[in-house]
Amino acid sequence: MLQTHHLNVHIAQKKCLDDINLQFNTHDYLCIIGPNGAGKSTLLKSLMGIGPANKGSITISGKPLEKLSQKELARNISYVAQSHNRHLDFTVADFIKMARYPHHDIFSTWTTDDQNAFDSAIFLTNTEAFTDRQIPTLSGGECQRVMIAAALCQQTPLLLLDEPTSFLDPRHQVEVHQLIKNLNQEHEISIIEVTHDINHAVQHSLHILALKEGKVFWKGRSKDFLASSTLSKIYDQEFVILKHPETGQNIALTSERA
């Protein structure tokens, strides 16, 4: 459903993405990992058409990105940013409902389709309890769920997430991880997620794309990732791989040895 072909992005003469060729299929769940400054967020923003100017091509369902209007794009892809402006003076319900924008024109009114999208978004994200609250009063975990709810209310086949669990405590991290996995498996939403949580990527996603210095360093199936021993090369940091006592899956821990 989404391809990039020789994608290059420069920000202020610095090369941020270097010849990215990506083939992303429907119902896939791709995690993008890599060190800080590797170009992960830039890649996500380019796919969303909100990044800096780029060379190369991005096609969505066979159509070049630049041929799509911003609204058409927003009917195909929704996006949850890395950090949020927490001073949004809207109620949770109003903010989530605003995400129906790409399905509306100037004259359209709130339809049953809109209401269904809203209801299912707050149900899936378990945000029903606080739809009347103001966004600035939410905790970090609640706010993140509201942002995901808004993206779901947009009802797009593809959802992009930029470090959705970075600022959350372990319990809320697990909650959001389960939610994303559920969206992918039960609701057939394709997911591209940027994350620093390698174990989460390995456990939950179907494919991993590792970026380093703007280049694709490794790509493949998530379950092959830890066995490929590229991890330490990606981050220039030694890791130890062990088995999770409960699941038996491989997990990576940073090594204390220099």
Binding site: I50, Q70, E72, S78, N85, M98, A99, Q154
Partner: protein, 321 residues
């Protein structure tokens, strides 16, 4: 529902103001014919003009605040008032006197001054590709100071009559006779109001942040251009007609936000109505305080606006900490 009730109350207050204001200060023992002439040709046009101007100023202020995510970004803080004033001052200084499509020379030069300044400030802040609200505001302030000193210089070099006319223009003025000026300004303000109302959903998303707006499908860049230039034309026309009437565009949207919340579907009509009523009130105060003499309406709004500005600063400091 709450928003609906608030808007309904604002509308009622507004209608009452419109009905009562023309009658205030009418002397009872004047000849009925003269009284009715004063009412129809002077009082009612003046109240209507105050309403339209107030609504337009509030609307443009609202749009700028939403577009630039900054409570201090209004067409006035971006230098439009000083640009218009410089244009008007130059027209007086050079003794220009002609009319062009219903505008006299002072208004025309003020209009040109306003538009040139706002486009100039906008282009400078975009120069080099980067763009931030801070740069935009600082450019506006720098340009305002520069133009203010040019206005002072023009005033200093003018003769005493010219100097007084410039000073009087700088204070803002709503006194008109008959309805001609109303027919000039009403179409501009109503078209821009309608246009902004069409973009109410877009403005909500824009206020939530550029990235959110883009990811929801708003063509942020195009929307900014359309809104920026339409409101600039509106503000230019208003200032050209009535002089710089400061602070309405900053105060009214904030008051409305406190009353009705941040949803532009409600905020746009509320700001227009509130702004209109507010300016009628300020003009009424100006007419009555030292009657039969008048205090210019721009002085009243600025006297109220200064303390309001400080209150806003202190409040936002508390908000942050």
């Amino acid at each position: 529902m709450k928003s609906f009730h608030v808007l309904l109350s604002i509308t009622l207050v507004c209608i009452l103001t419109l009905l009562i204001a023309p009658h205030i200060g009418l002397s009872k023992n004047t000849d009925p014919a003269i009284a009715s002439h004063i009412l129809l040709q002077i009082r009612i046009p003046r109240v209507l003009l105050a309403f339209i101007i107030g609504a337009g100023l509030a609307l443009c202020g609202l749009v700028f605040q939403a577009m630039f995510h900054n409570p201090l970004a209004t067409p006035f803080t971006l230098g439009v008032a000083s640009g218009a004033s410089l244009g008007a001052a130059l027209a007086v200084f050079f003794g220009l006197s002609f009319t062009f499509i219903g505008m006299d020379s002072t208004s025309l030069l003020a209009f040109i001054g306003a538009l040139t300044t706002i486009i100039f400030v906008y282009s400078i802040s975009r120069f080099g590709g980067g763009f931030s609200t801070e740069v935009l505001l600082l450019t506006g302030i720098a340009v305002s100071f520069f133009f203010s000193s040019l206005i002072l210089l023009t005033q200093y070099l003018s003769d005493i009559t010219g100097s007084f006319r410039i000073l009087r223009w700088l204070m803002g003025n709503l006194s008109i006779i008959g309805y001609n000026d109303i027919w000039t300004i009403l179409p501009v303000v109503s078209v821009v109001t309608l246009l902004v109302f069409f973009f109410r959903r877009d403005l909500n998303l824009l206020a939530a942040g550029d990235d959110i707006a883009l990811s929801r499908g708003v063509s942020v860049k195009n929307l900014r251009y359309v809104l920026f230039f339409s409101t600039s034309i509106c503000i230019g026309a208003i200032v050209a007609l009535c002089g710089p009437i400061g602070f309405v565009g900053m105060m009214v949207p904030h008051m409305c936000r406190l009353l009705i919340g941040n949803d532009h579907r409600w905020l746009i009509p509320a700001s227009c109505l509130f702004g209109g009523a507010f300016l009628i009130l300020c003009d009424g105060i100006g007419r009555l305080v030292i009657a039969p003499a008048e205090i210019p309406v721009g002085v009243i709004t600025t006297l109220l606006g200064g303390p309001f500005f400080l209150w806003l600063l202190i409040r936002s400091r508390i908000h942050i900490s």
